[in-house]
């Protein structure tokens, strides 16, 4: 009876049904941006209205990948870099599932880079959330494929000698049907983007720039979590619908965010079903309807 009384007085957390509260406290550092993104992911899942029993989260290894352990959904914390091929198998084997992949930048685009380009090319119907904190946070701050040129990490103490990827440009080039970038300050836009990406049929990609004060910030001029967020607030410029090639993350001038790609094309499953019915068609299609541009009109 006592517990009943307690339930009445403690207000329910709006995300209660989606959090494995028995697993708290979480592992994330004070000031980390992953918690904010986690909140947006859960809000988007609630907002999108999918059956929670048919929604699954797949992750690899890293700070972001630990989201899978805190969400009360079918959730799979797999091997480093391999969330996408695991998710590919899961989605194709059980197409009625809504499958999300949550991943850090190193997990998704260094060790998992090959899987990323192929999952996007195949247009596997999954939503990929990439938390980009510019370094490997869990292992204590090593350079990643996202680390800005010149930034200091534990494996680049005199400054990172490599140029980083522009993840959104890469995703678009590989054929993602939805591509957006936000910072962990753009909570409302981020939540909307994740919802939109989930509602797309095909490979959706949402990148979120977040502070990593423990591993990255303190070694670089970007500073504490609050200072990083202030920096993102001052430098972020929203440019929806531009070619992501023109949207690099340039810490010296502007950080371009926005929704860059929102398009349609057949998913892997659409085309696989055609191939099962032998309806893919001939290649090259000499009698097809494609007219070379210089002969058109």
């Amino acid at each position: 009876m006592k517990t009943k009384k307690a339930e009445k007085t403690v207000p329910r957390h709006p995300m209660e049904e989606l959090i494995r509260s028995e697993r708290l406290p979480h592992i994330w550092c004070a000031g980390c941006g992953i918690g904010t993104v986690f909140g947006s992911v859960m809000a988007a899942i609630q907002k999108s209205g999918y059956d929670l029993d048919k929604t699954a989260i797949v992750s690899g290894i890293g700070c972001t990948a630990r989201m899978a352990g805190y969400i009360r959904l079918d959730s799979f914390h797999t091997t480093h870099g391999r969330a996408l091929p695991f998710a590919t198998g899961l989605k194709l084997a059980r197409p009625e599932l809504k499958v999300l992949v949550v991943s850090g930048d190193g997990d998704l685009l260094a060790i998992g880079g090959n899987h990323f380009i192929h999952a996007a090319r195949r247009n596997i119907d999954i939503t990929v959330i990439c938390v980009n904190n510019l370094n490997y946070g869990m292992t204590g701050g090593q350079l990643a494929p996202s680390t800005p040129f010149g930034a200091k990490t534990t494996t680049s103490v005199t400054g990172c000698p490599e140029e980083p990827f522009n993840f959104c440009y890469l995703a678009a080039a590989c054929g993602a049907v939805y591509v957006a970038r936000w910072t962990s300050l753009h909570i409302r836009r981020l939540t909307n983007s994740i919802t939109e990406a989930m509602q797309k049929r095909g490979f959706g990609f949402v990148e979120i720039l977040t502070p990593c004060p423990t591993s990255f910030g303190r070694r670089n001029k970007i500073g504490t979590a609050l200072e990083t967020l202030k920096f993102y607030h001052e430098r972020s410029v929203i440019r929806n619908d531009i070619d992501p090639k023109e949207a690099p993350i340039d810490f010296g001038s502007n950080i371009v965010v926005g929704k860059f790609v929102d398009t349609e094309r057949p998913t892997f499953m659409d085309n696989y079903q055609l191939s099962c019915k032998n309806r893919i068609g001939d290649w090259p299609d000499f009698e097809g309807t494609i007219v070379p541009e210089n002969q058109a009109g």
Binding site: R20, R23, L52, D53, K54, A56, V58, A68, G69, R72, L73, D74, S75, F76, H77, T78, T79, R82, L84, P85, F86, A87, T88, G89, L90, K91, L92, A93, R94, E96, L97, N114, H115, H118, F268, Y272, S275, C276
Partner: protein, 386 residues
């Protein structure tokens, strides 16, 4: 109407194709793979057969992805497999470990070629036997089978799926190039004659379900993704809830159970074919294509008046320790032919425990072991005793 999944009948078929038909007869409806000699024919046939059956064939970007994809598919509730050879098997190791740790049923067929590295891509080897046992990091038990003919490629692939579902473990079929490429008579039985085992489902509500709480046989019932159980599955050391536990107690409990569910059931898992053991002076212990040569040699030895016997290993891991210990105590020698520099023979020696001499007939790869070589080893063993 013809049964499209189980192609009942008698065929002249190669081992790779027979492996596919075994998988499909066992209910496999998901294949992820990457082309590699001499296993490519498995992927090729799967790419044609699975679409006819409403299944999925996907050619992944590498073997790492193939292994990850079949784990994902298995959690989706579908029987899944991949096939490969040495270099691809090496790439699969990390995710085989994930499959063992998360107790994910699936089947990996390794059509072995000679290594190390690229080695002899088109020629036979048996050099991955210890890799099958220990190739992924950490300590665990595995199940591996070794077919010695196209017919056994069919039969043992069916059994591999049954064992994987029953014990929730990736099962390895350790075939070889000759068995994979050889054409022989393959009899595919009628569907009702094929015994199939499916994974045990939870009998409790999602609220009461513990993903890694085992039944008395050490195996936990498995909820699939999407069944409403909202499971959390991780490759981290985990407790019965599936939640990470970063301490030695959780580690000991998890690893012990992973080991015990195989060790405790090994009498049900291990199968051998025992030929002329009762009066044998010398026993050849062999697996895969080398068991074919051994059978020939044992027959020739018997015709020449030598009391030879054969233990043909259908299950190579777990190893038939009890049987070997018993046989070693009453024979004059054990002989193992294998196409490597001596792998399973180490296990044979361990189990023989010094009760009798153990001899290796080694071939380093590129050809099968000629029966005459094994026969002469049998003769030498007899002579050596006198």
């Amino acid at each position: 109407m013809a049964d499209k999944a189980v192609l009942t009948g008698t065929y002249f078929m190669n081992g790779d194709y027979a492996c596919c038909e075994g998988a499909l007869a066992a209910g496999c409806r998901f294949f992820a793979g990457y082309p590699i000699t001499p296993a490519t024919e498995i992927a090729e046939r799967m790419s044609r057969r699975l679409p006819e059956l409403g299944g999925i064939y996907i050619q992944m970007e590498d073997e790492i992805a193939s292994m990850a994809a079949i784990l994902g598919a298995s959690w989706g509730g579908v029987k899944a497999m991949t096939s490969t050879s040495g270099p691809g098997f090496s790439l699969m190791m990390e995710n085989i470990g994930l499959g063992i740790c998360t107790e994910t049923p699936c089947v990996i067929c390794n059509v072995q070629r000679a290594g190390p590295s690229t080695g002899l891509p088109t020629l036979v080897g048996q050099g991955d036997m210890m890799q099958a046992r220990w190739g992924s990091h950490g300590h665990y038990e595995v199940i591996a089978l070794a077919p010695s003919s196209p017919q056994e490629m069919f039969d043992l692939t069916v059994r591999a799926f049954n064992l994987s579902e029953q014990y929730r473990i990736p099962v390895m079929i350790m075939a070889d190039e000759v068995v994979g490429h050889m054409n022989e008579r393959v009899v595919i039985p009628r569907r009702e004659e094929i015994e199939l085992v499916g994974r045990r489902k939870p009998k409790v509500s999602p609220h009461d379900y513990l993903p890694y709480h085992p039944d008395p046989d050490g195996v936990a019932p498995m909820a699939n993704c999407g069944d409403g159980y909202r499971i959390h599955i991780t490759g981290l050391t985990h407790d019965e809830r599936g939640y990470p536990g970063m301490d030695e107690k959780t580690q000991a409990q998890m690893v012990n159970r992973l080991i015990q569910k195989i060790v405790g059931n090994r009498d049900k898992i291990i199968r051998t074919e025992n030929i002329c053991l009762d009066d044998a002076d010398v026993v050849v212990v062999a697996y895969g294509i080398s068991a074919r040569s051994a059978r020939h040699a044992v027959r020739d030895a018997r015709s020449g008046g030598i009391r030879a016997g054969l233990i043909k290993l259908e299950t190579v891991w777990p190893f038939p320790e009890t049987l070997i210990r018993d046989v070693a105590s009453r024979v004059r020698a054990l002989i193992m032919p294998e196409i490597n520099a001596g792998q399973m023979v180490l296990e044979l020696q361990r189990c023989a425990g010094g009760a009798c001499p153990v001899h290796l007939v080694s071939h380093l790869g590129g050809s099968i072991i000629h029966p005459a070589t094994i026969l002469s080893a049998i003769k030498d063993a007899i002579k050596g005793e006198k």
